[in-house]
């Protein structure tokens, strides 16, 4: 491959997530990169988006000037309701999540480990077990059928975020299926990361070099198609 190196943009990462979502799925998109996936769903996918605050079947962000102050998503952004969308209270919203009906939860993270654990609620491992911003991530991670993570491949100072073991307190001790970074698309299988797709211009070796855990190349390794 003689491509120029092109790390994925945040929008492209959202598009990759959208590609990996099956027809008719019930989907929860976390704030940050995951929510960008909503711009790439097709009508044929028949996705239902739910948010923790009880909005089932929300649509795109509300156009400026058309915001309804009573209609927000889990990121407290003004959103819209898809025809057929509806509202439940917070306990019923998490009843839906806890019952396992959410097909995939797409979340941001600080770290993902090769055992499928991930960390996204505390920025420091300061021993103060009872402080942080959990939100609905633990419920979603424990109960959704799949966990997809979208995050930057390394920290600001270049340390890998795909790691042997999480250094931060985990959000869930296992369960991550897919990780999307600006460098590629990874699955978690049998205790190791598998590179499924690479960003344009990046070789397997280059990606492995900035990955903090064993990485294998998928037999189908290919360039991302977004």
């Amino acid at each position: 491959m003689s491509d120029e190196k092109q790390p994925l943009t945040r929008d492209q990462m959202g598009a990759v997530l959208a590609q990996r979502i099956g027809k008719g799925w019930i989907v929860n998109l976390g704030i940050g990169i995951p929510v960008l996936a909503s711009n790439f769903f097709t009508d044929e996918q028949e996705i239902t988006l739910t948010s923790e605050n009880g909005v089932i079947g929300y649509g795109g962000l509300a156009p400026e000037g058309m915001e309804d102050p009573d209609l927000v998503n889990a990121g407290v952004q003004f959103t819209t309701l898809h025809p057929g969308g509806t509202i439940v209270h917070h306990a019923d919203s998490f009843a839906l999540i806890r019952s396992g009906r959410v097909d995939v939860t797409c979340l941001g993270a600080y770290e993902v480990a090769k055992d499928g654990s991930f960390a996204n609620w505390k920025t420091v491992n300061d021993g103060m077990g009872n402080m942080g911003g959990i939100g609905g991530a633990m419920d979603l991670a424990a109960c959704a059928q799949r966990i997809y993570i979208a995050m930057e491949h390394t920290t600001r100072d270049g340390q890998p975020r795909l790691v042997e073991q999480c250094s931060l307190p985990v959000t869930a001790p296992s369960g991550v299926d897919l990780v999307v970074t600006e460098l590629g698309v990874f699955t978690v299988q049998d205790g190791r990361f598998v590179l499924e797709e690479h960003a344009p211009g990046y070789t397997f070796e280059e990606i492995a070099a900035v990955t903090g855990a064993p990485l294998v190349a998928s037999p189908d390794l290919r360039r991302v198609s977004v």
Binding site: P69, D70, L71, V72, M138, C143, T171
Partner: protein, 259 residues
């Protein structure tokens, strides 16, 4: 049927609020009882234990006070919430600093567990099992138990002295209707408190005027109602609301402007 008491002002509705009480505060963006919280701030209550989704920040506006202000002034002993710290390290909250210093106790609970603990409190269920948090710091010290080969944590109910609630419509029997995602924690918190005080956006109507099939919270859970006055706080996002409220004021009633 029994009827809640209708108060003429927010201040009167919270005048006898007792120090050292436990208070449920709903809201997830919309659906926040800003008027009651502001009245409570000026009422002076202290020693509070609060239940809310997040803790928030102090307000820059003396006309709109909230939990962040009470926390900052040391009037809250303990917060039970899904967020006590900003997830962004660059924006540490007041609560976070107070927790680090030991001045504020915090019980951080996954959001779904929080919602279910409140629902359980209102439903007379002292404890239940959930998979959320197994294998994390949240599970420390909690009873673990397997059902059908899966591990769950036992979590206990929350029941408070007061709940402050924000409703869109109400009747004189206390029946409440919420609007869209302003519903959030409101109905379950109203059920999980001894004294539920409600601020109402639209004029309170006579019992019987609301369709019984449209009511989200039966009035049996409501002790006090207060109409939000015309100069009250109508929205979370004041910036956004300025334009909307101006537009609404200039438009005929029943127009299709968002509200």
């Amino acid at each position: 049927m029994g009827k809640p008491t209708i108060y003429a002002s927010m201040n009167e509705a919270v005048a006898d609020f007792k120090d050292d009480s436990m208070l449920m505060i709903p809201g997830f963006g919309p659906g926040s009882p800003h008027n009651l919280m502001t009245a409570l701030y000026y009422q002076g209550a202290t020693g509070l234990t609060t239940v809310s989704n997040g803790v928030g920040f102090p307000s820059a506006d003396p006309r709109m006070r909230g939990l962040g202000d009470l926390v900052m002034e040391g009037r809250v002993k303990k917060v039970i919430a899904a967020f006590t710290a900003s997830t962004r390290p660059s924006r540490a909250g007041t609560a976070e600093e107070l927790i680090r210093s030991g001045a504020l106790q915090a019980e951080v609970t996954p959001q779904g567990t929080l919602a279910e603990r409140i629902r359980a409190g209102g439903a007379g269920i002292p404890a239940f099992f959930t998979p959320a948090g197994v294998g994390t710091l949240v599970a420390e010290g909690k009873e673990h138990r397997d059902f059908d080969g899966r591990t769950y944590l036992m979590e206990t109910a929350l029941f408070a002295d007061y709940a402050f609630v924000r409703a869109h419509r109400a009747d004189t029997a206390g029946n409440l209707i919420f609007r869209l995602s302003a519903r959030n924690f409101n109905p379950i918190m109203a059920m999980a408190a001894r004294t539920t005080i409600v601020e109402v956006e639209e004029p309170i109507v006579a019992a019987g005027e609301l369709d019984p099939d449209h009511i989200h919270l039966p009035g049996i859970y409501v002790q006090r109602l207060v109409q939000i006055p015309p100069d009250g706080i109508f929205s979370v996002n004041r910036q956004a609301m300025v334009g909307l409220q101006q537009a609404r004021a200039a438009s005929p009633p029943g127009g299709d402007l968002p509200r």
